[in-house]
Amino acid sequence: MPKIELQQDELFRYSGREFSAEELEEALTMAKAEIDDPVDANGLIKIELNDTNRPDLWSTAGLGRALRLYHGSSAAGTKVGVSASSPDIAGRYEFFSRPDLPKAVGERRIVVDSELAERRPYIAAFAVSGPPIADVLLNDLIQTQEKLCWNYGRKRKAIAMGVYRENRIQYPVRYSAADPDSTTFVPLGLDAELSLRQIIEQHPKGREFGGIVAALDKFPFLTDNTGAVLSFPPVINSADVGAVQAGDTNLFIEMTGTDLKPLLLACAIVACDLADAGYTVHPVEVEYPYDTPFGRSVVTPLYFQKPVTFELGDAERLLGAELHEDEAVQKLSKMGVRAETVSGRITAYPPVYRNDFLHPVDVVEDLMIGYGMDAFPSEPPQDFTVGRLTGSEIFSREVKTLLVGMGYQEMIFNYLGSQRDFIDNMYPDDQRAVATGDCVRIANPMSENFEFVRPSIIPQLLGAESVSAHAVYPHYIFEVGKVAVRDTTNNYGSRTVTALGAVVADAEAGFNLVSSQAAALFFYLGLEYEPSVVDDPRFLAGRVAALLVKGQRVGVLGEIHPQVLENWGVTVPCAVIELDLDLLRTAGDLD
């Protein structure tokens, strides 16, 4: 979830009003936002945005816009549908085209090369002009770019954004596929020409984002009509046209990516933010040599979102309250959503900077927020249902009660561990490969300490012993918990088992003791078992028994091999019991 840092004054300017700290915290709930760090001496405040489908809120202008619409002085009386032709509720963003209604672009065109179709096919752009850009706005623009491209654009894979000095550009801009080795330019941050391949190998941004294009035979490349380089998307701008500074008055902004709709939305968000900042937005036409969902000529920023229509009654059922048409429309307007009603049916138009209405329920949530939580007093659930624990849980509790009765302290361990814990400490060299094969291993462990799901509770019981030599002996400890074992017959290739593991660590601990305890346990569980000879290198030979119920192996008990104890650094004899409680529980039904 993105966190943004912004000037509180700027936020209040966009909001059209000021808030005290408490008021702001309360006010931000409508945007599912929280104050992460309160305002500091420099007037900076850090805010966390929880809704990953609302990238329009990840900037000062965007968040301020939401607060203005909801909490601003005009919020209560916002006029609806000022401009029937405009998708925007306040008619602020007249520069948007619609698929069937493109705005005039003048000379501002981008020509796309057919070779991009299979590489990074889409581009959206616009230009702005206005007052000399201030540092605070420039910083905000850079932050917006980072958040949009990182969180919403999946680390530039889906969306990368570039900002340029428009007065250095000769239209049309050309979006082409370039040879990585013979194409060179001076990237931002350096003063020497590098080839595109050198950039992804040497430039810091190249090393960070080069992976997105590294496998391609030709790399995306953006130049103007004279061949002046704008950038190497999605990696780096040029040091010339691509070096925007405070004081610039005319900017060209483009975004490239793999999916057109998210790209169009990101483009819309940045355009609206700059419009709110007082800039005039100039649309750009993109000419594709291949088909896109919106044709071969797409003028951006583009309002492509579709309205959602539903019965008001559906919203009433979900919210549990009666809603009135006019009031519902007015509450949606507080959320920036223009809506119309026709005989109980409501049609909601997503704001130009939002594309999160996948289903009517998404509009229902905007209704909920628009009305405010207080409009929906809580009501106790009415339906009668029977509660119950799982059979496994009930059986586990019975087993735990018996273990506690035998003097055991219950433990609870983490389920992830290392090769050393689960394999190397437990098995001799020549058996480790097989033992590893029986474990569920993580392909992308964060650390070798957490690389395996435990196949047994015994290693962790011995791990507890290895750190507890200071605790008064004898130690009787156990855990009932999950283990995972490989099972080729299972759809998932493994099985999760509820297991009991118990260890006695004491000078007197031995086979006979745990054998007697197992006998007591089985007696009180109403089960008969037979011990059977087994070869298991974790135990002293001849002092280990597999336990069979109706011929099926349900567990093992015995004296831990001194070599295993030495591996763990344990200097007190240990005897253990381990049982598969899932098998035990169902063993009564076996024949």
């Binding site: 709930t29 599912k32 929880n50 990953t52 489908n53 999946r154 889906a158 059922r317 979900l318 549990g320 309250a321 996948l358 289903h359 329920v361 949530e365 909920m368 927020i369 939580m373 809580s378 009501e379 106790p380 659930p381 339906d383 249902t385 509660g387 624990l389 799982t390 496994s392 849980e393 009765g405 035998m406 003097g407 302290q409 219950e410 433990m411 609870i412 361990f413 983490n414 389920y415 291993r441 993580i442 392909a443 992308n444 964060m446 957490f450 799901v453 962790q460 791990g463 507890a464 012993e465 507890s468 200071h470 605790a471 130690h475 009787y476 995972a484 759809n491 998932y492 290739g493 999760t496």
Partner: protein, 524 residues
């Protein structure tokens, strides 16, 4: 004031001592040993116990100096001191050279030399030009000769004294001077005596002691009371003649190790029991899951940022499940692509049917809510406390595996208001909340979504959990057409408070002593 408890708590040794002594008597360990036949340990115990009760007061503390005869001293006592032996040999066999005297006496040369030096000064021995030593009759009784005789006498007395010890204050003044000269400090060899110093503490009865003594007499305690009731006494009936000593009940009892539940597990059980009491049925499932159930079935698009390689643990082998159950796979795939029959526009991308089989470690408990949907009853309530795995650096607030508490409620008439009613019920029943507030929330699989913030009597305001109404894109592919409330509670913070801990790692501590000593607050 004397109480019965004081009397009853007296040990028989204390009773015996109190009964034997009165005002003005000086009590030491040695006195008790001599008078009462106690051993050293019993004497010292009785004195320190009574002193601790203010019944005895330290009256004097002195250093007792004693002289213990050494092996050498015993040899001198039997065969004579070097002076005596050199003198006698010279007298009988002289004149002789010194080495010859050493031979005859069997004494080392240096002892013979120093004895000759002393005796020649006294005029008892003389040496001629030929270095021959000869005996000269003493000019008469001298102090020096008396010393030699006195040493001899001390040696003889020491040999017959108990443990070969002579007490300094029982010696005459001359004897003290002499014995001091011929003794060496503890541990050195080559002397006839060694000095032994010890501290003697003398006690006298206090007023308190006198009144305790009177109370003991009044109570008829003899010090013969019995400690343990034995099976033999019961068999033989001899207990009838015995009187049983009262025990000192204030003495801290010794520690025993008991069998015991883990308090964190007990806490989880309490939560489970509470949810069962609210009509919820428990669900459970495997630790290894598929991308399908972990995320796809929850309508999280396959390109969602939370589904990155750095957010989920992938299983190394096998990498993919053999199959995903139909018709759920087809329904979910279509829902992602174009919304299927759910009324949604879907995510508008090509659903990857290979990726969806990818095996991972369950990263959210909501997996089991999704898996339960197709077989759930209506109305129905379900929950699970499920171990989940996260790709997180382990620290005080993050674990790589931990429990999530999740559940669902299905019903024809459930809605936002009943959702909040249920959350308030959780807040009061599970957390003892004194105030509850719901605010809009965001979860990929619910719409609308809320967060519940509660005011806890000890922790203050915090976020107890999140909830919402499952999106139709989640429920309809599973064949569920009624609204489904989905909720998740963060109970670890309350668990830490319950256990008096502040580090999540401590919940899973392998340290046996820590776990033994850990207690949760009492339920109720």
């Amino acid at each position: 004031m004397r109480t019965d408890d004081d009397i009853k708590s007296l040990h028989p040794l204390e009773v015996t001592v109190l009964r034997r002594y009165g005002v003005g008597d000086v009590l030491t360990a040695a006195v008790l040993q001599a008078d009462l036949g106690l051993n050293v340990g019993q004497s010292n115990q009785a004195l320190s116990w009574l002193a601790a009760r203010d019944s005895l007061q330290e009256h004097n503390r002195r250093v007792l100096t004693r002289y213990e005869i050494t092996e050498l001293g015993r040899d001198y006592a039997e065969h004579g001191t070097p002076e005596e032996r050199v003198q006698a040999t010279a007298r009988e066999h002289g004149p002789l050279p010194l080495p010859r005297i050493a031979e005859l006496t069997g004494l080392p040369n240096k002892d013979v030399g120093s004895a000759f030096g002393k005796l020649s000064k006294l005029g008892i021995l003389g040496m001629d030009g030929e270095k021959q030593v000869s005996y000269a009759a003493p000019p008469g009784p001298s102090a020096a000769q008396a010393d030699i005789d006195m040493v001899r006498a001390l040696l003889r007395r020491a040999v017959s004294a108990p443990q070969g010890l002579l007490e300094e204050n029982e010696l005459a003044e001359d004897e003290r001077r002499l014995i001091g000269e011929i003794s060496k400090k503890r541990g050195s060899a080559g002397a006839a005596f060694r000095v032994v110093e010890s501290e003697i503490v003398e006690y006298k009865l206090t007023e308190n002691g006198m009144s305790l003594r009177a109370a003991v007499e009044a109570a008829g305690l003899s010090g013969e009371e019995v400690g343990t009731l034995t099976p033999a006494m019961l068999r033989e009936g001899s207990w009838k003649e015995k009187s049983f000593r009262s025990y000192s009940i204030q003495v801290p009892p010794s520690r025993i190790l008991i069998g015991r539940r883990n308090p964190y597990c007990s806490y989880l059980d309490q939560v489970k029991d509470k949810l069962v009491s609210l009509g919820f049925e428990e669900f459970d499932g495997p630790l290894v899951e598929t991308e399908f159930w972990n995320s796809d079935a929850l309508f999280m698009p396959q390109f969602h940022s939370a589904r990155d390689i750095h957010d989920v643990y992938y299983v190394a082998d096998p990498t993919h499940a053999q199959e995903i159950q139909e018709p759920f796979l087809s329904h979910v795939a279509a829902t992602h692509e174009d919304g299927w029959d759910t009324g949604s526009s879907g995510w508008d991308y090509g659903f990857d049917r290979d990726f969806t089989r990818r095996l991972i470690l369950r990263s959210q408990g909501t997996v089991m809510s999704a898996k339960t949907l197709h077989e759930a009853k209506v109305p129905g309530k379900y929950f699970g406390i499920l171990r989940c795995f996260r790709y997180d650096q382990v620290d005080a607030t993050h674990l790589s595996d931990f429990y999530q508490t999740e559940g669902i409620v299905l019903g024809e008439d459930v809605n936002l208001r009943t959702l909040m009613g249920m959350l308030e019920m959780f807040a009061v029943e599970l957390a003892g909340a004194t105030d509850v507030k719901c605010v809009p929330g965001y979860f990929p699989f619910t719409e609308p979504s809320v967060e519940i913030h509660i005011k806890h009597p000890e922790l203050g305001w915090f976020e107890l959990g999140g909830a919402g109404i499952f999106r139709p894109e989640v429920t309809e592919p599973m064949g569920v057409s009624v609204p489904v409330l989905a909720w998740g509670l963060g109970i670890d913070r309350m668990a830490l408070m319950h256990l008096g801990l502040n580090d999540l790692r401590e919940l899973f501590s392998p340290n046996i002593e820590n776990v033994r000593l850990r207690t949760g607050k009492q339920a109720g």
